[in-house]
Amino acid sequence: MAEPSTTGLDGANRGLADLMTRLRTGLPGGHAGLAVLLLALILGFSAFVPNFLSAGTLQSFMYQLPLLGLLSLAMIVPLMTGGLNLAIIATTNQCALLMVWIMRTMIAPDAGAGTVFAIILLALLAGLALCLVIGLITGFLVAYTGVHPILVTLGTKSLIDGISIYLTRGMALSGIPDAFAKAGNATLLGVPLIFVILIVTAVIVGVILKRTAFGISCAMIGSNIQATRYSTIDTRRVLVGVYVMSSVTCFVAALVMLVTFNSASADYAQSYLLVTILAAVLGGVDPFGGFGTVGGLMLALAILQIISSGFNQFGLSNYLTVAIWGAILILVVMVQTLRPHFRQLLSK
């Protein structure tokens, strides 16, 4: 550092401190508690479960995490603004259904590679368009009627689910072309493509929330929507953007869902709805809005998935895993609220 010699030491110190604070807020290191918990879980499981630290575990981890992860990313954006999107699963399912339907009705058995590719592209575009429309409608309802997002999305969830169930009669649709399935199950240097998609999406969402004017407006709306409006931010337009972004993330989730289940249905993954909120809050997202990071969410997801795979290898039931997820959530939130009291006790 090229500081004048008189203040050299001081300046260097300050520079270092600045760097440390920047590191602490910029990295998931801001969630030291969660990182410690994750590490403790990994160590604990590898001590008690034989073969826990194996390539197989890592592989299944990378195959199981993406769907829940993407759905949680779709949830975190509205959560930042103090809202909620209860329709994410319904949106994802309907988008997946539409894409499968297009692919299986339009691709003739003897179609050439070129037509298949074109139709897959068409299906993807249609899915994306559907998600955009759903996001726009939800966003407009939330922003311009002033109805609480829980209610609006409860309504849109019912409506979207209803349409999907009505059209499919509750049946699952299969018939994904081999080319699509093969591409989805590909790996990059041993890492499944769907996991790469999750990481890329997480980075994009994280950068948007942290580094763009839109993302900062979201956090401001979550803290105080009136004050944000008086700061000449068009809160309504931002809110519409929030729900569009959430829905578009659902489109990515729908792609991953098609790859993992090889089919689409109106009632896949319904139990994930509350788990996404659980993961977000565990990751330090304030359910009233304003605070939260994608890094924290990813750590929380990793913790949940490690618990689930660890107990699976122990041979414990899935139900017990969900119960333990709930208990961990209460524990983490309790520690967060009680920490100031502990600190007070210690300093006395």
Binding site: L86, L141, T145, G146, V147, H148, I150, L151, V152, L154, G155, T156, K157, S158, L159, I160, D161, G162, I163, I165, Y166, R169, G170, L274, V275, I277, L278, V281, P287, F288, S317, Y319, L320, T321, V322, A323, W325, G326, A327, L329, I330, V333, M334, T337, L338
Partner: protein, 341 residues
């Protein structure tokens, strides 16, 4: 029905969100009555009342929590746990009826109080605490019961109890049964308790502005336990009634009803931010959803279509309520504060 004192003033009526709901119900009812002959028949109405009694009892409990400014997602799980435990006690230990019922209700109340403790003592947001509690209690129930139903409920539990019965001119049997009576008693009690008692008024005050309520000397902590404990009690009661109706205890029978009950309560004008809502309004919300489902069934519309209708109803009615009350919202809250019944 809405407040008698303001019933003569059209202006006051128009300000009440329930009036919109009542108008919608009348329109929908007329349409169904004209289209489906059986819709307004006495047996059909009584049947509807009995079918929706369980949801109504839960909605009364949820209403109290919503008024107090909180939200609870876990009550359906609570109802299942209380019901299943009571069924276990009755079949395995063979205890007499009063003990089983008291035990079931106590379990529900205790689970409600755990929610209150998490929310008040640990300062966990109510939606987060109850989502966590829902995962815990329902998953543990499924784990320990391995999803097995109990079919051998004792006779005192499953025997129909008929308070009044009559035959219509066509020969249909009309019976006022225990679930209907329970629902009516619960609704009347909740209404009287919330509008005529000191605790009820304090709950409204707490939901409207917790800090102000605390400063005028209202015990916020105690009220949390009262509200969530009451919901736990009502959930357990609903669980016991549900087992009475179907004659067995299925651990996941009531799972996923929480959003339906919540929609009904909110349709009926209970505010998610607390302090606003009435018992008649919540009941009207349930009536509307019940009428839609039943009417569409009678018209032969596919049951798959039903969810679409629910979705549209929620969207339209909540938007209308909010948009219509936006003008002079502050005026309305102040003017109506003494008459929230």
């Amino acid at each position: 029905m809405p407040d008698d004192r303001s019933a003569f003033s059209l202006k006051a009526l128009r300000r009440r969100p329930e009036m919109w709901l009542l108008a919608v119900i009348l329109v929908v009812g007329t349409v169904f009555a004209l289209a489906a002959r059986d819709f307004l028949s006495l047996p059909n109405i009584i049947d509807l009342l009995e079918t929706y009694s369980v949801q109504s009892i839960m909605a009364m409990g949820l209403f109290v929590v919503l008024v107090s400014g909180g939200i609870d997602i876990s009550f359906a799980a609570t109802a299942s746990v209380a019901q299943y435990c009571a069924a276990l006690i009755a079949t395995q230990l063979g205890l007499p009826a009063p003990l089983v019922i008291v035990a079931g209700l106590l379990i529900g109340t205790a689970l409600g109080c755990v929610n209150a403790a998490l929310i008040h003592k640990m300062r966990i947001t109510s939606i987060i605490a109850t989502i966590a509690m829902m995962s815990i209690s329902f998953s543990l129930l499924m784990y320990f019961s391995s999803g097995k139903s109990i079919y051998t409920l004792p006779d005192w539990w499953t025997d129909r109890i008929v308070f009044y019965q009559t035959e219509t001119a066509v020969g249909d049997l009309v019976r006022i049964t225990l679930p209907i009576v329970t629902m009516m008693v619960v609704a009347l009690f909740t209404w009287a308790w919330m509008t005529r008692s000191s605790i009820g008024r304090q709950l409204y005050a707490m939901g409207g502005n917790p800090e102000a309520a605390r400063r005028i000397g209202i015990g916020i902590g105690k009220l949390h336990f009262v509200a969530y404990g009451y919901l736990g009690f009502m959930a357990a009661l609903a669980g016991l009634v549900q087992a009475h109706r179907v004659g067995e205890s299925v651990p996941n029978a009531m799972y996923n009803t929480e959003l339906a009950v919540l929609s009904a309560a909110v349709l009926g004008g209970a505010s998610l931010t607390g302090g606003i809502g009435t018992v008649p309004g919540v009941l009207l919300g349930i009536v509307l959803l019940a009428m839609l489902q039943n009417g569409l069934n009678l018209l032969g519309v596919s049951s798959y279509f039903f969810q679409i209708v629910i979705g549209i109803t929620i969207l339209i009615s909540t938007s209308i309520t909010v948009l219509s009350s936006r003008r002079g919202r502050r005026h309305r809250i102040i003017a109506e504060a003494p008459g929230n019944g």
